[in-house]
Amino acid sequence: MLVPVAFFAVFFAWPVAAIVTRGLKADGVWRFGRIADVLGQSDIRHVLWFTTWQALASTALTLLAALPAAYVFARLDFPGKQVLRAVVTVPFVLPTVVVGTAFLALVGRGGLLDELWGVRLDTTVWAILLAHVFFNYAVVVRTVGGLWAQLDPRQEEAARMLGASPAAAWRKVTLPALAPAVAAAALMVFLFTFTSFGVVQILGGPTFSTLEVEIYRQTSEIFDLSTAAVLTIVQFAAVGAVLAVHAWTVRRRESALRLVDPSVTARRPRGAGQWALLGGVLATIAVLLVLPLAVLVRRSLDGGFGYYRALGDADGGTFLVAPIESVVNSLEYAVAATAIAVVIGGLAAAALARRDAGRLVRGFDALLMLPLGVSAVTVGFGFLIALDKPPLDLRQSWILVPLAQALVGVPFVVRTMLPVLRAVDERLREAAAVLGAAPWRVWREVDLPMVRRALLIAAGFAFAVSLGEFGATVFIARPDNPTLPVAVARLLSRPGDLNYGQAMALSTILMVVCAVALLVLERLRTDRTGEF
């Protein structure tokens, strides 16, 4: 428990506190008046308003698109379901930069829609909303569908026997059981879209800006640290509130539901209605999820493998090194970040899973989720400010990037490991102890074999998330050692077809690496492996 707490104190709380302090303190005096000043500016209020309504709209659209899919995956049985489940999850682990790039290729200048019908959406809010739906589709399908598949259909049958119509049985029995899961999924989507950075940065253009993008702009372009600090605090408060509600719904969800093996609740579609639903869901997945990625790949292949070959050249001045080297950088960083995240997250999950864990420890559970929502830009910039003097001068160290990426990976590790660790029956441990196993031996013989898979899955998620981390890395990755997402963003920021094509090519490589990591994970997945 001490190790994760220390980790978060040094590499999360301190940098964030350092940057907030720097922004709000002048000549040793706190200037809280800045908060009111900043919030009074009309352009800032506009950013706040846009951030909120686009997050709400994205959440609503995602629920609308993904809830039917949750039903289809939970209750219907059809060939290729396993593969499709993996396909649906791919976007979630894709780096935001890739998602942004893919939608740019679909709806942007010279994109597919532009070619076919002359429609361009990249300057409208629709591109952002669609990208958000694309990105978060899996969150809803997995969270809601996962529970739906485990709800005992006999509960509905019991209601039918008591005289309820099919619709009434669904409304009175299934819906109340699902509601907390739907709420939890909606909150997660809201959280992700509220703090969206990469997608908005690429698709938003000059007109649309979320809080996170504004923090980045204030910090790195205008150098107005006090405004950035205020915005960080605002985002922190909003995220804290959302997480508190989320923790509450999770607790509600864990309350006594009769769960059954998901494999017994699904059956072949019957009747025109179910076939139509299945068809509709498949079509949605094809258009919404597969098409943007396909377009991305196709654009990267315009003119053969030219763009890929160009990645190997160090000319052009975009980088000090050839873009392709960012692949190696990214992989190295991601491996290091995964190792850190698994150790820290594993220790935290083990501490949280203890039955005698007190209120204090449980509170830490919610705190661990904070890095998901706190401005990654702030964390990245905070690293530069806080970790630049002895005893911790890491500014020149390569470890800075993996440390920042691990921060984002830890919540995934904890969320994946915790349910599995909590599900290990205490009496199995007791059985081992009675048979003569000392405490550490009990852990090795009982816990470890059961969590090994979850550990691998957690590592995979941490890997994919580290690979795609953008907000913090963009600050701290050194110019001669860019990661993949940073390289993509830099290529996109420069004019010319060659840069654009190279961005597409690099994104495709990133997508393939993430997708492969995910498909390996799908093979390992067990029934009870957390929320993601």
Binding site: L428, A431, A433, V434, R441, E445, M450
Partner: protein, 339 residues
């Protein structure tokens, strides 16, 4: 004494779950603790195993206080209620677990595993996955696993709880034979009186964390210590009575009792076999309220004009129909004055 509990007390949130329990188990004795759920019997086993620390009192094994001995060094075996087989190990791996913890060689392990699986009637099952076992098979594997390290005391928590009736009856006989042959000292807990009586040398009835009665199955069956024990054993004909000599005055009228019974205000038990049905105009007039078929006999539920219902055991052919009017007489040999 192999096991001795000395005023063992466990409280959950101030409420005593074990309340100053004294219990001795001798070498090779087969003791069965019997009680309704919540009577503290599982806590008793957990306290002996070291899984539940005592709030006061002592647990002694071979005369040594176990307060500072951790679970894994106590050398007792515990078979859990729902077996708790390790799901990721096969049958052989489960049975060998305790041997491995003691650091025994591979060869000895394999030999002992084969020996035990043979003993519990599952030869050649060593490579099977535990998920594929039936309830009865899991039960046997759990037993083999608990026996493998040769514990000085074997504890069984509801050993046959979840099995169906015919399997349960067969296994009780098998277990008793097996423990007799091996000379194992056994402390079992159950809520099923049939199981306890069939299995044990000595039955200990628990109520609210205290021992209500302790004795041989025959003792306990013939002379329940109090109303609670009598009712828990399934006797319903229990009424307050005033005893004078060999006659008890009850809501059912005067009932003869054996000589030497306690005198004055008491509680009276009439076993169903002691309720004799006679002609409607003789004895205590009753109406037949219901009859339940019990296999070897019929239990007839009788409603007297005054007083609580009576249960009578009746031969199949002689059982009256529901609604019939009958008379009742009592047999002194089948009545017991309690307290």
């Amino acid at each position: 004494m192999l096991l001795a509990l000395d005023a063992a007390t466990v409280r959950f949130g101030g409420r005593p779950v074990l309340d100053a329990v004294d219990l001795d188990v001798a070498e090779q004795e087969l003791v069965c603790v019997l009680g309704p759920s919540g009577s503290g019997k599982s806590t008793l086993l957990r306290a002996v195993a070291g899984l539940q620390p005592l709030d006061s009192g002592r647990v002694l094994l071979d005369g040594h206080d176990q307060a500072r001995v951790p679970v894994h060094r106590r050398g007792v075996g515990l078979m859990f209620q729902d077996h708790q087989l390790f799901p990721q190990r096969d049958v052989g791996g489960n049975v060998a677990f305790g041997l491995r913890m003691r650091g025994e060689g591979k060869a000895q392990q394999a030999e002992r595993v084969a020996e035990l699986l043979e003993l519990v009637g599952l030869p050649d099952a060593a490579r099977r996955a535990v998920a594929g076992l039936s309830g009865g098979e899991q039960q046997r594997v759990a037993l083999a696993r608990a026996l493998a390290p040769r514990p000085r005391l074997l504890m069984l928590d509801e050993p046959l709880g979840q099995l169906d009736r015919s399997l349960r009856e067969r296994l009780v006989v098998e277990l008793r034979e097996l423990f007799g042959r091996l000379g194992t000292t056994v402390l079992a807990v159950t809520h099923d009186q049939g199981e306890a009586f069939a299995l044990a040398d000595r039955v200990v009835v628990m109520r609210d964390g205290r021992i209500a009665q302790s004795g041989t199955p025959l003792d306990v069956w013939q002379r329940p210590a109090d109303e609670f024990v009598a009712r828990f054993l399934g006797f319903d004909n229990v009424v307050p009575a005033t005893v004078e000599g060999t006659v008890a005055v009850t809501p059912w009228g005067k009932v003869p009792v054996p000589e030497g019974s306690g005198q004055g205000p008491r509680t009276l038990l009439v076993r169903p076999a002691g309720v004799r049905l006679v002609a409607a105009d003789a004895g205590l007039p009753c109406t037949v309220a219901a009859r339940t078929f019990q296999g070897t006999h019929v239990t007839v539920h009788l409603q007297p004009q005054d007083g609580p219902r009576l249960a009578a055991a009746c031969a199949l052919r002689e059982a009256p129909e529901t609604g019939d009017a009958v008379g009742v007489e009592f047999d002194a040999a089948e009545t017991v004055v309690l307290d």
